[in-house]
Amino acid sequence: MRDAATQTIQKSGADILIESLKEQGVEMIFGYPGGAVLPIYDALYKNPIRHVLARHEQGAIHAAEGYARVSGKAGVVLATSGPGATNLVTGIADAMLDSLPLVVFTGQVATTVIGTDAFQEADIVSITQPITKHNYQVKNVEDLPRIIKEAFYIASTGRPGPVVVDIPKNIATGMSSAQVSEEVRLPGYQPTTNPNYLQIQKAVQVLAEAKRPLILAGAGVLAAKATSELVAFAEKYQIPVTNTLLGLGGIPGDHDLFLGMAGMHGTYTANTAICECDVLMNIGARFDDRLTGNLADFAPNAKVIHIDIDPAEIGKNVPTDIPIVADAQKALIALLEQPITGPDTTQWLQKLTHNKNSYPLQYSTANKQGILPQQAVQLIHRLTGGDAVITTDVGQHQMWTAQYYKFNNPHNWVTSGGLGTMGFGFPAAIGAQLAKPDEKVVAIVGDAGFQMTLQELSLLQELRLPVKVVIMNNQSLGMVRQWQETFYEERYSQSLLHVQPDFVKLAQAYEIDAYKVETLEDAEEVFRKAFESNEPALIDCRVLQLENVYPMVAPGKGLSEMIGVISK
C-alpha cells in the first residue's frame, strides 16, 4: 500500500535485536562472529554497542559470567551456530548451577534448512534445554522483540539463570515492523518475592527459643543484595554466620560473628557449628553436597529454616521445618521488623570463639622451602586490603583463596562453584574488570586450569585491562593429585605436569608484562609492583607441588568427620 499514514518502518531482525538490547540497557556484548550471525554483526557495525571479542566462545561466556557476577546485571553473549553455540555449553551449565543471569544469543541456520544437518547446524535448543532456565528459538521476526524482553526478564528475576535465544539466519535478515516495547506476559512464571507472614512468625518463634542458632548464608544473599540486612540481623540477635563457597563476602571476612566457610574445605568451627546447632537458618544456599557432606550427619539436631526464592530448592536435599519462599532481602527485612526477645547465645558464642582460637585455619612451614600457596594468597590479601575483586579457577588454589582471602565486600568474589569449571577464572576476571574498571581485579588460577582458556591473553592484550593473573604453579593438577595421594595411595595417574610452557615468555608473546617468583620475598616485591601498575600483568608464582588443602571432609563422610584439623 502506498498510503503514507499506514506505512510502518520495516527493520531487519538483526536491527531489532540491537535496538532491543539498547532498550534493555545492555552496555556490552561478549561474543565471536560466524556465518549464521553475520547479519547481527553487520547491524552491530552500523549501530555500535560495545562488543568484546574473546578468542574462544568459552572465554566469551565466562567473561560474561564475571561481568554478571560483579555488576549484578545480565551478561550478554553472542555466538554463531553449530560450533560457536556448542563452545558455549560449559559456560551455560556453569551459569545455571551458580544462578548467574545471562542472555545468550546463538545464530542458527535458516529455518528452511533446520533439521537437514545443514552446514554448522546443531540443535542448540535441545542441547541447552537441561542447562538453561529457559530457552527459545525464534520462528518469526515479529516475535523477536517480545522474546528478547522475556529472555532478559527471566534471566534476571526470581532465581537468576541463563536464557538462550537461538536466532536462525533468515530471521536476522527478515524484515518486520514489530515494535520493541511490549509488556512481558508470562502467566507460567511468577516468582514469589515477598515472604509469607505466618512463616516469618514461625521462624521468629523458633529463633527466640534457640540456644545454638546458626545462619548459613549462600550466594542468594549476594544476588538479593541483602548483605547489610544479613549483618544487621546477625548482629541484632548475636547469631553466628557461616558461608557457602559462593556466599563468601556476604558478611565481612573478619567479622566477629563469622565462622569461616562451611563444607568440604570449610573451617572446623563452621562445620562443627552445623553439627551442633539447634536452629539452622539457611538463607539463599542450596544445600549442595560439597557443603553438606553426608546428609545423614548434617545438622542432625537442628530445626531448619530455609529461605530461598526458588521453592524447588526447599526440601530438595535437606528436610525443612520452616520454608520461606522469598527474596533474601525481603525475608530479612521482614524478620528484622519482628520483635524478638532472645535468643541468648552468649554461651554458644563463647564456645565458637574458643573453637575459632583453638582450631584456626593454619599450615605448617616446617621443613618446607619455597612459597606455600596459602602464603601467596595471604600476601595478595594483605597487599590488596581484602578489597580486590578476586576470581579463581577450580582446584586447590580456589579452596586456599576461599580460606585465606578474607572478603570484605559482597561483590568481589567470582568463582565457579556448582560446576567447578577449570578455565573459568581468567576470562571471568576480564569480564569483572570490564564491569568494574576502577577496581583491582586479580585472577588466581592453577597452572592447569589457566591452560584451558589462556588464549584470552590476546583479549587482555587488546583491551589493556589492568587484570593481574597469578598462576599458582604447582606443576600439577593439584586437587586431582591431592585426591590421588589421599584416596588412591599416591598413584599419580595423569596429574603431574612434566611439561609446562614458559608462562613468562608466553605472556610476553602477547605483550603482557610477566614475572616468575620463587621466594616469598620476591613475591612480595613483584606483587606489590604489579598491583600498583595500571597495566595487565602475569605472575608465574612457583608454589610447593605437594602442599594439600586442609582441613577436609572426605567424600561420603559427614561434617563431623573432618581430617587434617590441627589445634593451635
Binding site: S126, P187, G188, Y189, A312
Partner: protein, 171 residues
C-alpha cells in the same frame, strides 16, 4: 508409589521435550504420558503416570514441573475423585473357529471391533488401565499380534467426595 499428575502447559514447540527432559534429568520414571490440546487455544494438557519413592520426591517433582516457564498449572490428582481413561488397540489372532469365543470375552469390556480380516480382528477398548490390563491378559492366549496403548488421560471430577487432601507445604 504411583501418582497421576496433570500439567497445563502453553503449547510452544518443544514443551513436551522440555517436560520429559526435566523428568529424565531429575531421574523420575515416567510410566505413561499423554498430551493433547485443551478447550483453550494454545493450551495443552499432559497427563503423566509416574512412580515416585516418597512424599519428598513427589513434592520435588511437582515443584520442578511448576518451575518451567511454559507450565501454567501442576496437579497431583491421584487422591481426588477423577476420571481416568486410556485407549488401547489390540490386534488378536482370531480364526473363524474361535471368533465368537473372543467376542464373548471382549463384550463385557465394551471393546469395539474396528478392523477385521480373515484371521485377525482389531479391537478398540477404553477404560482405566487396570481394565485394559485385564482384557489384554484374557486375549493373550489367542495370540496378540499387535498392541498399542495411548497412555492415561485424566482430570478431576466436578464434585469431590471429601475435601481434597492436604496440599503439600509450598506450591
Amino acid at each position: 508409589m504411583k501418582r497421576i499428575i496433570t500439567t497445563t502447559v502453553i503449547n510452544q514447540s518443544g514443551v513436551l521435550n522440555r517436560v520429559t527432559g526435566l523428568l529424565m534429568k531429575r531421574q523420575f520414571n515416567i510410566e505413561s504420558i499423554s498430551v493433547g490440546p485443551t478447550e483453550q487455544a494454545g493450551i495443552s494438557k499432559m497427563t503423566f503416570v509416574v512412580n515416585v519413592e516418597d512424599e519428598r520426591k513427589l513434592e520435588q517433582l511437582l515443584k520442578q514441573l511448576q518451575k518451567q516457564i511454559d507450565v501454567l498449572k501442576v496437579n497431583d490428582i491421584t487422591d481426588k475423585a477423577m476420571v481416568m481413561r486410556e485407549l488401547a488397540l489390540i490386534k488378536v489372532v482370531s480364526s473363524p473357529a474361535v471368533r465368537s469365543e473372543i467376542y464373548s470375552i471382549t463384550e463385557p469390556f465394551r471393546a469395539a471391533v474396528i478392523d477385521m480380516s480373515k484371521n485377525v480382528t482389531t479391537f478398540q477398548v477404553t477404560g482405566e488401565p487396570e481394565k485394559i490390563d485385564a482384557l489384554v491378559d484374557l486375549l493373550k492366549p489367542y495370540g496378540i499380534k499387535e498392541l498399542t496403548r495411548s497412555g492415561v488421560s485424566a482430570f478431576v471430577r466436578e464434585t469431590q467426595k471429601a475435601p481434597a487432601p492436604q496440599q503439600l507445604s509450598i506450591l
